[in-house]
């Protein structure tokens, strides 16, 4: 075992995990996705990825176009239902919520109803998977920096992810975690909302950035890259030195 390595997961057997990567993470934040792979493999688990499914269907679903959403989400359900992995892991609260909570509604009264529910039950948000399923809080990470955590709304309210990321960050060597005021307040991204109602989205984002900057943290960390895109986009426009990182990227550092 390497010096400063991960606490051995004594109670958990080696798992076969299928990683589902949200479309925007695949295109815009691939490093965050690879960090999830790094962390899971470091803990001794096998990670698989399906190159032929790309999007959970949330954009069309949120806009009310459920037929179009089903066209995109259907192949995802079929692929993952046929997948025999021990768990499906998603590094995004909003995408995770889509599978775990909203697929039930989207596929109600359709041929895929039962599979959709079953897939949801096997799906985990990344930090929740580590802490709740694997019982791991120390993944052997080292990241000496002052950091604040933003709670992505879907992860927080649909998936009840609150203490899990904080527990993980607590065990990162050298990391100082400070809480920002109104950590649970929405950053203003909201998917297509950010483009449909840009003025409101921007105002919400500005308030989030202000509370983040107040903490004097170097990094804002979240379990949702979309939130981070919103925050970083505003911070960069304001020419402020704050940086954003997905929690997987922090946990992958050694």
């Amino acid at each position: 075992m390497k010096a400063g390595g991960a606490s051995p997961p004594l109670l958990v057997r080696k798992m076969r995990v299928t990683l589902f990567v949200p479309c925007f993470m695949n295109a815009l934040y691939p490093r965050a996705g690879m960090s999830i792979v790094t962390v899971l493999e470091r803990l001794g688990h096998t990670v698989n990825f399906h190159e032929d499914i790309f999007c959970c269907g949330q954009p069309a679903f949120n806009a009310g176009y459920w037929d179009e959403a089903r066209k995109v989400a259907g192949p995802v359900v079929e692929k993952l239902a046929a997948d025999t992995a021990d768990a499906i892991v998603i590094g995004s609260g909003s995408c995770g919520a889509m599978l775990k909570v909203f697929y039930r509604d989207l596929f109600a009264n359709t041929a895929l109803a039962a599979e959709a529910v079953a897939v949801g039950e096997r799906t985990w948000e990344f930090s929740d998977f580590l802490v709740t399923k694997l019982g791991v809080t120390d993944v052997g990470a080292r990241f000496p920096a002052k950091v604040t955590f933003h709670d992505g709304c879907h992860g927080l309210r649909e998936l009840k992810v609150k203490y899990q990321p904080r527990k993980l960050l607590e065990h990162v060597q050298g990391l100082e975690l400070v809480e920002m005021r109104d950590a649970e307040t929405c950053c203003g991204f909201g998917g297509t909302f950010s483009a449909k109602f840009p003025a409101i989205s921007t105002a919400m984002g500005e308030m989030k950035c202000a509370t983040a900057l107040e903490t004097e943290a170097e990094y804002v960390v979240s379990n949702d890259s979309s939130c981070l895109m919103q925050i970083q986009g505003l911070v960069d426009r304001q020419r402020k030195p704050l940086k954003t990182l997905h929690i997987a990227e922090v946990l992958a550092r050694q």
């Binding site: 815009l28 190159e51 009310g64 192949p75 929405c186 203003g188 909201g190 109602f197 986009g233």
Partner: protein, 479 residues
């Protein structure tokens, strides 16, 4: 449709203006932070706030899902003790009923306590048009009445005004001395309204709850103006929506503190009063005549939507407005409706028309703070999603539909996506800088105020495939 673009466009224009108003942002933030502190303190005093929410939700479920039984009991009990109960399907009918009563009583002076339902049916305008003068007695309502504007918030009508603005208003309309002191300003209003209470011959109120078991309405307030409105005038009229029903008197023991906690961060508001009818024999005062006007105005339409029926559980506490990040940034007037905030966004399409008002359901990031805070557990943010779905099912927007179909085409062909993504990166790198933020920029909605991330040269799929190739090579080499 001409009308629908007007409401949605107006909303967007107002939202843009107010969201950029830093003074407004600061003022609302201060007001709501005070509320949050008080609310959190009060909530933590409960032995089991979550248990109370579930109990309140269940009681409202019982009330609404047996609405006909409870409404019948409510009306019968009231009528048995001398109250005249009126029924109105529409706002127009309700206004007519009021005008008839006022005409019959030869009303000269009307005092009114706060009633959002009266706002909803535009009662004041109708009465004034018929030549009656109506004075709002609630301080916040009195202030916005003087300014001739709608209430800003269902519980705090004048939340958007500073003391300086109120002082200027009083000086202009009442001729009072300017003052910076909230107490002095309140006393000015108290003085003016004193005489109105005593001389009014008709008092109009709303109601927070309607108790079926005992035939009573319950009014929650802090100032005492509703009590005075219901004590002194000879005729008292209460207007309420049919959904205000709760089954038993004892249910108030749960609803009154929850309304106070969620609505204002108080254990109980200053006065919570129950009215069972006109003055009874042996009582020393009270109205000789009591009328209760029950109104539908679209509520049965919402009732019929089993998925969203729980929106009728609303106790009008305003908590969802207070926590909504959209509300905080655009303010109450931007919505252009009687009921603003999340509850307004949910119910207005049912009360006034889905296609014309769907934009309120779209103007949300679906953060869920509203659902989390609602004392009666209305599934607010999911209803916004359902409104979106329903609006599209009836009338999809053509170009949106095509855009999602195109996205669907690409998203189900990851091989094709992989080949196309580099072009997006190329275009961004070489051309975006030229048009960024300007009228030619396709991402203008974002780039006007935010920077876009630079598209990485390799996607996750690329990195994954590279990793697999590496692993295969390593396995080969090891052989």
């Amino acid at each position: 449709m001409e009308g629908s673009t007007t409401f949605a466009q107006e909303f967007k224009a107002q939202a843009k203006r107010v969201a950029a108003d830093l003074r407004h942002r600061g003022l609302i933030r201060t007001a709501l932070t005070k509320y949050e502190t008080a609310r959190d303190l009060q909530k933590s005093a409960f032995q089991d706030w979550q248990g109370a929410r579930q109990a309140a939700a269940e009681r409202k479920w019982e009330a609404i899902n047996h609405l006909d039984e409870h409404l019948e009991a409510f009306a019968s009990r009231l009528e048995e003790r001398g109250t005249k109960v009126h029924w109105a399907s529409t706002a127009a009918q309700a206004r007519e009923i009021f005008l008839e009563i006022l005409k019959e009583k030869g009303a000269r002076s009307i005092i009114k306590s706060k009633a959002m339902t009266a706002e909803e049916i535009h009662l004041n305008e109708a009465l004034e048009k018929a030549g009656y003068s109506v004075v709002e007695s609630d301080l916040g309502e009195y202030i916005v009445q003087l300014r001739q504007e709608a209430p800003y918030h269902i519980v705090f009508p004048a939340m958007h005004l500073t003391r300086g603005e109120i002082s200027a208003l009083f000086t202009e309309k009442l001729g009072s001395k300017p003052t910076d002191n909230p107490e002095e300003l309140t006393m000015i209003a108290r003085e003016v309204l004193r005489d109105k209470y005593i001389t009014a011959d008709v008092g109009i109120t709303g109601a927070n709850f309607a108790v079926a078991e005992t035939g009573m309405i319950s009014i929650t307030e802090n100032e005492g103006n509703a009590r005075l409105t219901g004590a002194l005038p000879r005729t008292m009229i209460t207007l309420l929506g049919i959904e205000k029903i709760i089954p038993r008197l004892s249910d108030l023991a749960l609803f009154l503190p929850m309304l106070a906690t969620a609505g204002a961060g108080q254990a109980l508001t200053g006065y919570n009063s129950m009215y069972a009818g006109p003055r009874q024999p042996g009582e020393s005062d009270g109205p000789e005549e009591y009328h209760v006007v029950l109104i539908d105005n679209g509520r049965t339409h919402l009732l019929a939507d089993a998925e969203q029926r729980d929106a009728l559980h609303c106790i009008r506490c305003g908590a969802c407005l207070n926590v909504c990040p959209i509300y905080r940034n655009v303010g109450g007037h931007t919505y252009g409706t009687t009921y603003s905030g999340p509850i307004g966004s949910v119910i207005t399409p049912h009360l006034r028309g889905l296609q014309e008002w769907k934009h309120l359901s779209q103007a949300s990031s679906l953060c869920g703070a509203c659902t989390e805070t609602c004392p009666v557990k209305i599934d607010l943010h999911h209803h916004l999603l359902q409104n979106r779905r329903n609006a599209v099912a009836k009338k999809p927007v053509w170009w949106e539909k095509q855009a999602f179909r195109l996205f669907g085409y690409l998203a189900t062909r990851p091989g094709l996506m992989k080949r196309l993504l580099p072009f997006a990166g190329f275009a961004q790198y070489w051309f975006h800088g030229l048009v960024k933020g300007g009228p030619l920029d396709p991402a203008r909605a974002w780039t006007q105020t935010r920077d876009l991330p630079a598209m990485p040269p390799l996607s996750f799929t690329d990195l994954w495939q590279a990793k697999k190739r590496e692993a295969r090579r390593a396995a080969e080499a090891a052989k």
